[in-house]
Amino acid sequence: MTGEQVAVFLASSLRLSMPMILAASGEMVSERAGVLNMSLEGMMLTATFAGALGSWATGRPGIGLLCGVAAALVVALVQAVLSVTLRANQLVVGIGFNILALGATTFLYREIFGPLSREVIPGFAKWEVPLVADVPILGPALFRHVGLVYVGFALVLALWAGLRYTAFGLAVDAVGEDPRAADRAGIPVALVRYVAVLIAGLMAGLAGVFISVGDINTFTEGMTNGQGYLALAAVIFGGWVGGRTVAACLLFGTATALQFQLPAMGIAIPTAGLMMLPYVLALLAVAGLVGHHDPPAALTLPYRRGA
């Protein structure tokens, strides 16, 4: 591989990992608070579409970003009401949201854009980070991306710091491990869980907008194509720890990038095998065969005072 190819490969690995990094980091916060959002895929898809629509209608990608994040937050809010207040089965409700999001975005897309639209969505311009963008290989690989990549990483770091060093972070772990004890200690369990789910929604929204407005500059039906599920798998694979979760996303993204890279290099490899790899790894992880970690003790368990 030439240096240029290496740079392209690294850049596309990062690009393909980015939606999962964003979504998984938010989802990790929510899961540490005890709420599993199976609807991550649906939140992302909703944001992918709403972001594309906003950007296309106004010609301004920034508006698209706001639309996408707002739409994902609405889904997250309803998810929170159902999971926390109405104590519904989080997994089933989440799958329902994914079906709903697929139906709704496909329906609206066909109505608004038409079924065969190749409409280009105005996207963010790439930002060349001063000084480092011209470093050989690493410059083009890491420092010539849309701004959302850097904002995204900053947010991910902020989430880690927030979980680790703030009272809210402590509260998140407390309600995720033992909501009853947390309640007795005066922590508002429901409120913490609502905020945690909304954080997942915010990050899933950014992830979705990144796909349509930040990266591909178009919308296609079912565009997220399982990336939300992969992000969920990454949280498990990462053992509910920030750094490991991001590493899992990078691994999944690299496997995806390899599908395009290897054939380009003339290496014949069944691409289906590479596409399967993240799911198999995640399966091994949930089976505890690779780096087993215990999930938060109250994950998916609704809490009711006095019950």
Binding site: L82, V93, G103, T106, F107, A233, P270, V280, L283, L289
Partner: protein, 361 residues
């Protein structure tokens, strides 16, 4: 999980908890109402859309047969769901179980089974499909028992692996892809030999209705009897209600968990085989097209009742056919049907707390 409506039971309690019926019905009506509103919003005339919908559902013997054939796959997945759900297990892997069932049935039909006498030529691929699905379910069951892996996560991940296996199978000539004669050869399998196709039921050559309908009814009867009348059904429920207590009572709960998920998987795999041998005849990437998730919805909405599974499967089968026809004749995207289904799951799962109040403990 429903403890209420086991409809197959003879001595039913005097008109059991109505809320488990009323709320799903209300949710269904509300979801359909949203569908109608959306159709109106597209500017299509609602009578036109409904006419197209009706035509696609029951307008011809073809439409009726195709709708019932669709319902077969949904019913089988739904039956598997309620069986496993009786033990408080949530099998969301129907889509992947259909996928591996379809692969296995295609493999057997193309390689070996066609030369067998007619009943075997049909039966062997069906059995292979069921076996492949059973294996898929058993993996989830084994992980649940041995490694305490949540079956929702494992069945979902196995679904993606199964779907990609279909993709792989039809991409590679060493697997099931038809021989490449030109660069334009599509990535799909050869058509299944005629001997392995499911026989149709009616003399009417226009009707695609095949014997899958009877297989699904037989499966429904079996699941109904097991759940309502057998010791196995009681054990499943015991494990579902209180794992620890049932273990103390001498029930081998681990085996039951594996068994329940294996049977659920087998029914999903059988659904995949029936789809291939019944109507599709060619294995293509994405042939599962959401039937597994729709079957999950059917199982979920039925709240444990076999009769409700059949009704729900027919409802969704006809809904799917109607939606497709409406897209063609009235230009309303069939995605509106998907939207309605999603809305149904969210509303019904979201309001479970209301339904479960006042039900017997």
């Amino acid at each position: 999980m429903s403890a209420g409506a086991t409809v197959t039971k003879g001595a039913a309690p005097a008109w059991a908890p109505p809320r488990t019926v009323v709320i799903p019905v209300l949710a269904t009506l509300a979801a359909l109402g949203v569908g109608v509103l959306l159709i109106t919003a597209t500017g299509t005339s609602v009578p036109d859309a409904i006419a197209g919908f009706w035509d696609g559902m029951v307008g011809s013997s073809f439409a009726i047969g195709a709708s019932i054939n669709r319902a077969v796959a949904l019913a089988l997945v739904g039956l598997g769901f309620i069986l496993a759900n009786r033990a408080n297990l949530t099998n969301v892997g129907g889509e992947g179980q259909i996928a591996v069932g379809g692969i296995a049935a295609t493999a057997l039909a193309l390689h070996g089974a066609a030369g067998l006498p007619r009943p075997l030529a049909v039966g062997v691929p069906l059995a292979a499909g069921a076996a492949a699905g059973a294996l898929w379910g058993a993996v989830a069951g084994g992980l649940k028992v041995r490694r305490r892996t949540n079956e929702v996560i494992s069945t979902l991940l196995l679904t993606f692996v199964g779907l990609l296996m279909v993709y792989w199978s039809v991409q590679s000539e060493n697997l099931l892809r038809q021989p490449m004669t030109s660069a334009a050869t599509l990535p799909e399998s050869l058509e299944l030999p005629a001997a392995t196709k499911l026989p149709t039921v009616l003399r009417d050559p226009g009707s695609p209705l095949h014997i899958g309908a009877f297989i699904a009814l037989a499966a429904a009867l079996a699941v109904g009897l097991v759940l309502a009348r057998s010791a196995l059904g009681v054990r499943l429920r015991a494990v579902g209600l209180n794992e620890l207590a049932s273990r103390r009572a001498g029930i081998r709960d681990g085996r039951l968990v594996v068994l329940a998920l294996t049977v659920a998987g087998a029914l999903g795999g059988l659904a995949g085989a029936i789809m291939l041998q019944g109507e599709l005849w060619i294995l293509t990437s994405g042939f599962t097209s959401g039937y597994g998730f729709d079957g999950l919805v059917v199982g979920l909405l039925s709240r444990g009742s076999v009769v409700a599974v059949i009704a729900g499967a027919l409802f969704f089968g006809f809904l799917r056919s109607g939606g497709l026809a409406m897209e063609i004749t009235a230009g309303v995207p069939a995605a509106v049907v998907v939207l309605i289904q999603g809305l149904l799951v969210v509303t019904i799962a979201g309001t479970a707390i209301l339904t479960d109040q006042g039900r017997p403990p």
